[in-house]
């Protein structure tokens, strides 16, 4: 009898964390318009934020958004400061060693950005000796290091800084996100005279690339719930509706779009 009571009490106590786990903390960034940005009053908005909200809605969990600087994003996830990252994080092999990713939720190519007429071609030979500005610790930086060994690389801490430095004349050409460069720079007064140049460059490999939601390794239950919720919002049109508020073109990963049709 006494044992039963003890175990009853224990069950109740142990059940509390299970309830609490229906609260999910999500790491977001805020320096990557139009995917995430912070208004002067501190309010977060953007496509990443909308995706996070929609997923929480579908998973029927209460979510807290935790703003975190890009550089400490994965460490903060590992340190349990939040449970997943919705911050336009490209799925790469290096990151896969440290975190698990959901299915990709969007995919946009990278572009070179330069002052109009400065360059006509963008091969490693053409850009040898030139200073290329890029986001530090990003797949784009890795791409440049691998493919443009004779160029000088100016690696900055935040994506908008890539364009600030380009406008300031600190580099000759920038390598950035096709979407962020347009939104945060080219469509603003500072971006006057600058254009995206060369062909779009996809840094993701067919079938597995794109931008995903990062979770701690072996958090399989959460990952399956996220993937299910993601498939749901993609299938019922919620995704396209949200995306159309930001983009005039399709950013859904090819594989996901093919699966829908």
């Amino acid at each position: 009898m006494r044992n039963t009571i003890t175990s009853l009490v224990l069950t109740t106590v142990l059940a509390v964390p299970a309830l609490a786990s229906d609260q999910i903390r999500i790491g977001v960034e805020g320096n990557y318009p139009p995917f995430s940005q912070v208004a002067p009053d501190g309010a977060l908005s953007g496509f990443d934020i909308d995706i996070a909200d929609a997923l929480c809605d579908r998973m029927q969990v209460e979510c807290t958004l935790v703003q975190q600087e890009w550089e400490g994003m994965i460490p903060a996830l590992s340190a349990n400061r939040f449970d997943m990252i919705v911050a336009s994080m490209t799925i790469t092999d290096a990151r896969r060693e440290r975190v698990d990713f959901s299915d990709p939720y969007y995919d946009v190519p990278s572009r070179f950005i330069a002052a109009e007429g400065d360059f006509t071609s963008y091969s490693p030979e053409d850009l040898a000796g030139q200073t290329i500005i890029v986001l530090r610790n990003s797949p784009r930086a890795d791409f440049l290091e691998e493919n443009y060994p004779d160029s000088r690389i100016l690696a900055v801490d935040r994506e908008p800084a890539v364009y600030l430095e380009l406008a300031a004349g600190r580099g000759d050409i920038a390598f950035g996100s096709s979407v962020v460069s347009a939104e945060a720079f080219l469509n603003t007064p500072q971006g006057e005279g600058f254009v995206q140049v060369g062909d779009p460059i996809s840094l993701t490999r067919a079938g597995e690339g794109g931008v995903g939601i990062a979770m701690r390794k072996n958090d399989d239950a959460l990952r399956e719930r996220v993937n299910a919720a993601l498939a749901e919002i993609m299938a019922d049109g919620t995704y396209d509706e949200m995306a159309s508020q930001y983009f005039e073109f399709d950013i859904m990963p090819e594989a996901a779009r093919d699966a829908l049709n």
Partner: protein, 246 residues
């Protein structure tokens, strides 16, 4: 547990970071020292046209955070067309030059005040005595005035150099890959504290130890007269030097 394989893997990067830190420290430190000598004379001058401009310069530089100065030079100046069209633009374009300039101006301000304080504390009698001995103005300045001021300033100046060395870590914010930046990269790539920021701390600490030792040796050399035992047995070479000066 410390993961030694990460440390060994990252040692070359830390080594390069250490070189950048040292280059920044030495170039900014020496330039600051060279600028502080004439500026401190002006600052200690009784003529307000000489002392006031220098006072305003050091007041502003000491009254604002170094990080703010660094950002104004690095982010602010390129926004001015006058800077971008000037012959100096190739310099301001370079992050390293911006860091060097910020650190040089900052350490110049502090060193100027340290030296000016030492100059003001020069006993009037010392200079009078030297003049009475028939030494020329240049001789007084070179042989009596500066050596005395330098001795009085030395302990404080040693602190300033150590602080300048610590301040070079700020260069990591403007894309310069010095010791702290290497530490941050290790942290980002391996998610470890001891092997990233811990290693950076070890490097800075080692630099502090070396600098402190250097200044202790300098103090022993220049402040020997304050050590009762050491000043009692004057070495022959010291005797000759004294004779020459007299």
């Amino acid at each position: 547990m410390i993961n030694w394989s990460i440390i060994i893997e990252m040692l070359p990067a830390f080594w390069r970071g250490l070189q950048i830190t040292l280059i920044l420290l030495c170039t900014a430190g020496l330039a600051g020292l060279a600028l502080a000598v004439p500026l401190s004379l002006a600052r200690a001058s009784s003529h307000p046209l000489l002392s006031w401009p220098v006072f305003i310069f050091t007041y502003i530089l000491r009254g604002t955070p170094l990080l703010v100065q660094l950002f104004i030079i690095y982010y602010g100046l390129p926004q001015l067309d006058i800077v971008r069209q000037s012959a100096f633009w190739p310099f301001f374009r370079d992050p390293f030059f911006c860091a060097w300039l910020a650190f040089t101006l900052n350490t110049t301000a502090y060193t100027t005040e340290i030296f000016a304080g030492a100059i003001r504390n020069t006993p009037a009698g010392e200079v009078e005595a030297a003049r009475a001995m028939g030494l020329s103005r240049t001789q007084v300045l070179r042989d009596i005035f500066w050596p005395g001021a330098w001795r009085r300033a030395l302990p404080q100046y040693g602190n300033e150099v150590v602080q300048l060395m610590h301040a070079t870590a700020l260069a990591s914010t403007i894309t310069i890959v010095e010791i702290l930046r290497v530490g941050r990269d290790v942290y980002y790539n391996h998610l470890v504290i001891t092997e990233s920021f811990g290693m950076a701390a070890v490097f800075f600490l080692a630099l502090t130890v070396v600098l402190t030792l250097i200044f202790r040796i300098l103090e022993k050399l220049f402040l020997r007269h304050l050590d009762p035992r050491d000043s009692a047995n004057v070495s022959p070479s010291e005797t000759t030097k004294v004779t020459v000066n007299a």
